[in-house]
């Protein structure tokens, strides 16, 4: 089965503060990211704030120009396609943004927001087709069709996020990247949105890249989880697999500490996260790792494993011993 999305060695650096003279330092937000996403799968992306999750999603959506690596969407290399060449492909991958409050233009009505994708793509819709489309999209995300005429400030956060989801669905995408879609919603609304996402995936046969820092949610929703640290992938693990990377172990321990099965793996993280301006040559986690050895500081561990479980750690036990 060809992957719907395959990312190789993807990296991005942001220019540092501008100066009139001399070269700028660059800030490394994402580096050496490798993974494949298969049709129908939900891949979770977790990591601390600032580890590059949103940047990764924006790179894949080609909102940022990648500085290294390649992105293949359904086998097509889209890494450096021009805006025009990318335009038709954009119908097939879409994104739902973190902040529902600013993701709709306050001057647009919900109907206008939902038909903007067609307008941008140059799809001419007759008045009747337009109305039908708006109704279809609102029904998909279980919103009242009467909402079409209202402005976003009349909607609650959860309703706005549903509109954001409906808008991403407008052009019939195969892949949707969700950037913490529920982070700014309260818990009961979160649960409804998550159920909506699961239903949509079933009904529309979608593939998700799901960014979150809610580990319980990711564990519930995702088939595989990619753990990021300082812009790198430290581990990709299937749901329920025991974590092998000390960082993943620490994250899970912090999230599920009351669970006796994982409590014995608790490792305490101390120390500062290194800066993206000055990425360490060795393992990015070395400064905080409780198990650190000299090799870790000198050589950056590569992500090794089979198609299911991969880990970037010199000290992780070999994958084969798992099963």
């Amino acid at each position: 089965m060809t992957p719907i999305l395959s990312v190789e060695n993807l990296g991005h650096t942001f220019p540092g503060p501008a100066g009139w003279f001399g070269a700028r330092k660059r800030f490394r937000a994402v580096g050496e990211v490798d993974f494949e996403l298969h049709p129908g799968e939900i891949l979770g992306v977790v990591g601390e704030s600032g580890c590059g999750k949103s940047t990764l999603a924006r790179l894949i959506m080609r909102l940022y120009e990648p500085t290294d690596g390649t992105i293949r969407f359904e086998g097509t290399d889209i890494t450096h396609l021009s805006r025009r060449a990318l335009q038709p492909l954009r119908r097939r991958f879409q994104m739902v943004f973190q902040d529902p409050y600013s993701s709709i233009d306050p001057r647009q009505t919900i109907a206008e927001a939902l038909t903007e994708p067609f307008e941008v793509q140059g799809v001419g819709l007759s008045a009747a087709a337009r109305r039908a489309e708006i109704e279809r999209l609102l029904a998909l995300v279980a919103l009242d069709p009467a909402m079409a005429g209202s402005h976003p400030h009349h909607l609650s956060g959860g309703q706005k996020q549903r509109v954001g989801i409906a808008r991403a669905l407008a052009l019939g995408p195969r892949l949707i990247a969700f950037d913490e879609p529920t982070a700014s919603l309260d818990v009961s609304v979160q649960a409804q949105v998550v159920e909506l996402l699961l239903r949509l995936r079933r009904e529309l046969d979608l593939t998700y890249l799901f960014i979150s820092h809610d580990l319980a949610l990711v564990d519930y929703l995702c088939d595989r989880v990619m753990v990021m640290y300082l812009g790198r992938v430290v581990e990709i693990l299937p749901r329920g697999a025991p974590p092998r990377h000390p960082y993943t172990q620490a994250l899970l321990a912090a999230a599920f500490a009351p669970d006796p099965k994982v409590r014995r793996h608790i490792v305490r993280i101390t120390g500062e996260i290194p800066s993206g301006y000055d990425v360490p040559t060795g393992c990015a986690f070395a400064a905080r790792c409780p198990l650190v050895e000299d090799t870790c500081r000198a050589i950056r561990p590569a992500l090794v494993g089979d198609g299911h479980h991969a880990v970037a750690c010199h000290l992780a036990p070999p994958i084969a011993s798992e099963s």
Binding site: R90, M95, P106, V120
Partner: protein, 285 residues
């Protein structure tokens, strides 16, 4: 926006009070007077009656006559045409040019932005009046150069304001969403950014129109504005200043007209500011 404005001024939302409504009515009268001056002025503005020079206000000449025996009321009415149209045209030019430059600089960024803004900012170094005088001195006196001078004098203000609006809006998520559908720069700028940036700029334009009337009057006072016989308030005050004690009404009436229109515009502009809730609106959404 107009509908919302009327709505707000009438009863809904934050109430700006009665002053802006009175000021708005006064402005409306002023504009109507300027517009209708050829029909409502009792005398032609340039009809000289030397026998009746320097007459105090009377039934025949409500505002008196000037040193050539011209009717001051008629000249104030016709002067409203000159002053208001010069102010309006120059602010429209300044505002639209400033919005265009500011929007492009704010959107494109990089070296283009840096150099264009450096050039625009050079005009910040001078007070508006000095800059306008300098420009008229170069261009030569007259209505057209006055319009240009005033437009350039306020250009930096509109450019800066629009640019900062666009730069802030550019980072909004809804812009990324449009980009994600494949929208190009024209769609982003014209559909997403500018419509959201326009309200504060329009309010500032309205408030600046008051300053532009003053600036136009100042240029006219120095004899650099509209040239005789075209009446302008500044020019009338200039000739009136020579008769300050013999015929104070000659300087008084155009001065009062300037003061009234500037005050009315400012009060009305403040009301619109409150009604549109320009500053707050950006945070509540």
């Amino acid at each position: 926006m107009i509908a919302r404005l009327v709505d707000r001024l009438m009863w809904r939302g934050p109430r700006p009070g009665i002053a802006p409504i009175v000021a708005g009515a006064a402005l409306l009268c002023l504009v109507a007077a300027a517009f209708l001056s050829p029909w409502i002025a009792p005398w032609p503005y340039d009809q000289q009656m030397l026998a009746e020079a320097d007459r105090a206000p009377s039934l025949a000449h409500w505002f008196g006559t000037d040193e050539f025996g011209r009717d001051v009321l008629s000249r104030v009415l016709f002067g409203a045409r000159t002053s208001l149209s010069v102010a309006l045209v120059s602010i429209s030019v300044s505002c639209s040019l400033g919005m265009a430059i500011g929007a492009i600089c704010g959107y494109v960024g990089g070296p283009v932005d840096r150099w264009v803004m450096a050039a625009i900012d050079m005009t910040w170094c001078f007070p508006e009046i000095l800059l306008a005088l300098l420009l008229v001195a170069i261009l030569g006196p007259g209505s057209t150069s006055t319009v240009l001078a005033i437009a350039i004098a306020y250009l930096a203000q509109f450019t800066r304001l629009t640019r900062s609006q666009i730069r802030a809006l550019k980072r909004e998520t809804f812009v990324e969403a449009s980009l994600c559908f494949g929208a190009g720069p024209a769609h982003i700028l014209l559909r997403r950014l500018l419509p959201n940036a326009v309200a504060p700029v329009v309010v500032v334009a309205m408030l600046t129109t008051g300053d532009a009337i003053l600036l136009e009057a100042t240029l006219g006072f120095f004899g650099m504005g509209a040239q005789p016989p075209t009446p302008s308030w500044g020019g009338m005050m200039s000739s009136g200043s020579e008769l300050l004690f013999e015929a104070p009404w000659v300087i008084l009436w155009p001065g009062a007209a300037i003061a009234a229109s500037v005050i009315a515009i400012n009060l009305f502009g403040d009301g619109v500011l409150v009604a549109l809730d320009v500053k707050k609106r950006r945070r509540t959404h």
